[in-house]
């Protein structure tokens, strides 16, 4: 043994490390306390006799922040300890999740439950087990489902649940309190003219705003949709006819073209991390984003970044001409496939995850990264303990969704995946197209996707 570490030392160290890692798991074996801040009705859970020899295979999106995975794993382990059903959870990268879901659906093999994105439950409706009993039970117990949860969970315009929404991610306004104050405002104005003036003043004091209008899947689509909805425009109307070429859209285009002048230069080249980086580096004062910026700042070892977290505030996006905040929350839906050998065990797992002793800690430790689909969880203490998290509390309490106001369909997700609306705004904002021409071209493009549906 020539090195300083002897074999005995390394064994002791290894054992200590294992022991330390095991402590939280050991603690979790005990029955978790029910959170006191979640109002619950006294409802009997549905009778689901567990199949013998059940074992579950689950896939879900990869974590963006650590607590998401840590608490999901704790909850899963508690389920296995309580029921004896082993569950293996695979965390899949976001881009790979939808193709993998397609493979599972088409081959009838692989995971039992997929926690998937966007409109996948609608694509695979015929291959999913109905969730009516579970949805009704959870809705009755926890104060009812938010509108958007019902929209994604049920077949269009029915009460047939094909999937169970677990949570959604929203993108409200994130801003620097001191710089907005310096520009002369205590909060972000709710009207469009006021918002424009604020951004103008922010640029004048050298701390501009920044919104992605490049090919950034989440942020750019979020901003483009806000621009449309806050002007009363939309991609499709309620019958599913493309309504993009309208005077409301032209007004939105002209608005964004002017706003672009006051943004930090180069947002057209941003991907989804662009606004995060610029905000954390102190280059922009205002953007639309999920709680990821605040989470990184708050938990940073660098005191300068923690100061920025102190100076950061969130607020719901400006209403503009809309009656409610024009913001949507992309939900993650639990889909149980018919090819699963243990559907009752799977439903029991989903029910277990959604119950307060499991869901509460997961939700609160993610610091608002996920918003709840059930109304009772909006009353949890952590939402009000940190006033900065308020805009994320009711993110799923919205009427807006991808492809508003038409039926939820593959065409809607094709429009956002191909950046049709985003490119329309980008072309006008950079002066490469007139608003009228861009609106017509985008409407034609959208009609191609909706025409195939």
């Amino acid at each position: 043994m020539t090195s300083g570490l002897s074999r005995r030392d390394s064994l002791i160290l290894g054992g200590a490390a294992l022991g330390a890692a095991g402590v939280p798991i050991i603690g979790a074996r005990a029955q978790a306390p029910t959170p006191t801040d979640v109002p619950m009705a006294d409802v009997k859970p549905p009778e689901l006799p567990i199949e013998k020899g059940a074992a579950l295979h689950v896939i879900r999106p990869a974590k963006f922040i650590d607590p998401d995975q840590v608490y999901w794993d704790i909850n899963t382990k508690r389920f296995t300890d309580t029921t004896g059903i082993p569950v293996s959870v695979n965390y899949i990268s976001w881009e790979d999740l939808r193709p993998q879901t397609a493979v599972i659906a088409n081959t009838g093999a692989g995971a039992d439950i997929v926690f998937g994105w966007a409109i996948d439950p609608f694509l695979y409706e015929t291959k999913l087990v109905g969730m009516n009993n579970l949805a009704e039970y959870l809705g009755k117990k926890y104060g009812g489902w938010f509108d958007i949860a019902k929209l994604y969970g049920t077949k269009w315009k029915t009460n047939e649940w094909h999937s169970l929404p677990i949570g959604g991610g929203a993108g409200p306004t994130v801003y620097r309190i001191s710089w907005v104050k310096e520009a002369g405002y205590d909060r972000i104005p709710d009207d469009l003219d006021g918002f424009m003036t604020l951004c103008q003043k922010l640029k004048q004091i050298g701390h501009p705003c920044g919104f992605s209008i490049g090919h950034a899947v989440g942020d750019a689509n979020g901003f483009a949709e806000w621009a449309l909805w806050s002007h009363g425009a939309m991609v499709v109307d309620q019958e599913g006819k493309v309504a993009l070429d309208s005077k409301e859209t032209i007004a939105a285009l002209k608005y964004v073209a002017e706003l672009y002048k006051y943004m930090i230069p180069g947002t057209i080249a941003w991907n989804d991390a662009g606004n995060n980086e610029a905000y954390i580096a102190g280059r922009i004062s205002l953007t639309f984003n999920g709680v990821s910026i605040y989470y990184v700042l708050k938990n940073s070892p660098d005191p300068k970044l923690r100061d920025i977290a102190q100076d950061t505030m969130h607020q719901l996006v400006p209403k503009g001409l809309a009656k409610r905040e024009p913001m949507t929350a992309g939900p993650m839906n639990a889909m149980l496939f018919k090819h699963s050998k243990y559907p009752n065990a799977a439903k029991e797992y989903i029910r277990f995850l959604m119950e307060a002793p499991q869901y509460g800690p997961w939700l609160s430790n993610c610091l608002g990264y996920w918003s709840e689909p059930l109304k009772s969880y909006a009353k949890m203490k952590f939402w009000t303990e940190d006033p900065k998290l308020a805009p994320y509390a009711n993110a799923m309490d919205t009427i807006y969704y991808d492809g508003y106001a038409g039926p939820v369909s593959a065409a809607a997700s094709a429009v956002s995946a191909n950046y049709t609306v985003v490119d329309m705004f980008a072309a006008v904002a950079t002066g490469n197209s007139t608003p009228e021409a861009a609106a017509k071209a985008a409407a034609r493009q959208a009609a191609r996707y909706y025409g195939r549906a």
């Binding site: 881009e95 939808r98 193709p99 397609a102 659906a105 088409n106 996948d120 694509l123 695979y124 490049g214 090919h215 899947v217 930090i264 230069p265 180069g266 947002t267 057209i268 080249a269 941003w270 991907n271 980086e277 610029a278 580096a281 280059r283 593959a410 997700s413 094709a414 995946a417 191909n418 950046y419 985003v422 490119d423 980008a426 072309a427 950079t430 490469n432 071209a441 493009q445 191609r448 996707y449 195939r452």
Partner: protein
């Protein structure tokens, strides 16, 4: 007849069994020996290629298998301005990047052909841009072109004070296109340089000596000796380079994902975007299939056009 005269046992070779005859039959042997490699090619190359082409004629989506719809995808694409934009983008990208790579690659090869100190070391370093995984170099270039954090902008604006605003590399269509071409040329030079260097080394120095004795200057030596003798390998490298550049995906996808409103979309990136996130598998496959005529054309032109012996050995040699 007596005991001394016995019929001699005539050794007649046993008739070949049918297995032996089969294995002796040349065509069968040939087929059998080629079976492993042909089988591999068939399964891993032909099947995906054939399936991909077939997909282009269906309306397959990520969720559902497709039904045959004939040329509908192609007709629909021919009316799509974004598709035609991607075609012109790809042609521009391939043409300019190839010219850049060959000009600089040939120059580098000529330089390296001389005796330099640390020749082997320099040649190894030269190969680095090519062997670094494309995604990594794409991400590095993405940082170099970043609107807020570019190292070039930082040096030019904050250190040398030559400009007052940061350089907009990716914000306008033509800036973005040229930026991508630069990144691609940087990546591709080593391949061209090393291969042309190998070709240069096969040219016998006695030819140059003879030319020198005849009074030829450097330019005449280059034009009359180097160029013709380099043509065969140039044709091969040119073909490969055009194929790689035309179907480039990683560089564009990692840096601009199609760029300011589709102005840097190549056919490969557009095919991916339509097929996977956009879940229109049939349409994406159709875009990929429509790359084939261009690639075939480029291969035929560069391989047969440049490879012709007339170029190599003078006018009369066909």
């Amino acid at each position: 007849m007596d005991a001394t005269v016995r019929p001699i046992a005539v050794f007649r070779p046993r008739e070949d069994g049918w297995i032996t005859r089969l294995f002796n039959w040349k065509p069968f042997l040939v087929a059998l020996c080629m079976l492993p490699s042909a089988g591999l090619l068939l399964i891993f190359l032909t099947y995906p290629l054939g399936f991909g082409i077939w997909l282009g004629f269906t309306d397959a989506t990520i969720g559902q298998p497709g039904h045959w719809i004939g040329l509908d995808n192609f007709i629909s694409l021919s009316q799509d301005p974004i598709f035609w934009l991607s075609v012109t983008n790809t042609i521009f990208y391939t043409a300019t990047a190839t010219v850049g790579k060959f000009a600089l690659g040939l120059w580098l090869a000529l330089l390296l052909n001389h005796h330099l100190p640390f020749k082997a070391f320099i040649r190894a370093i030269l190969l680095l841009p090519w062997i670094v995984p494309t995604v990594l170099s794409a991400i590095a270039w993405w940082w170099i072109y970043d609107p807020q954090f570019s190292i070039i902008s930082y040096v030019v604006v904050d250190v040398l004070h030559l400009r007052s605003t940061y350089i907009d590399f990716l914000g306008t269509p033509w800036h973005a296109r040229w930026s991508l071409v630069v990144a691609n040329v940087w990546r591709g030079i080593p391949f061209v340089a090393i291969t042309l260097l190998a070709g240069l080394q096969t040219i016998s120095p006695s030819l140059y000596e003879a030319a020198l004795l005849d009074g030829a200057n450097r330019w005449q030596q280059f034009r009359r000796i180097t160029v013709p003798l380099l043509m065969p390998i140039l044709a091969v490298v040119l073909t490969l380079s055009i194929l790689f550049t035309f179907s480039d995906f990683q560089l564009v996808y990692a840096i601009t994902r199609g760029g300011p409103f589709n102005t840097t979309h190549l056919m490969a990136t557009l095919a991916f975007q339509r097929a996977i996130p956009g879940s229109e598998l049939g349409e994406g496959a159709a875009i990929a299939v429509s790359m084939i005529p261009f690639l075939l054309f480029a291969t035929l032109v560069s391989f047969f056009g440049l490879g012709r012996r007339r170029w190599m050995q003078g006018e009369t040699n066909e």
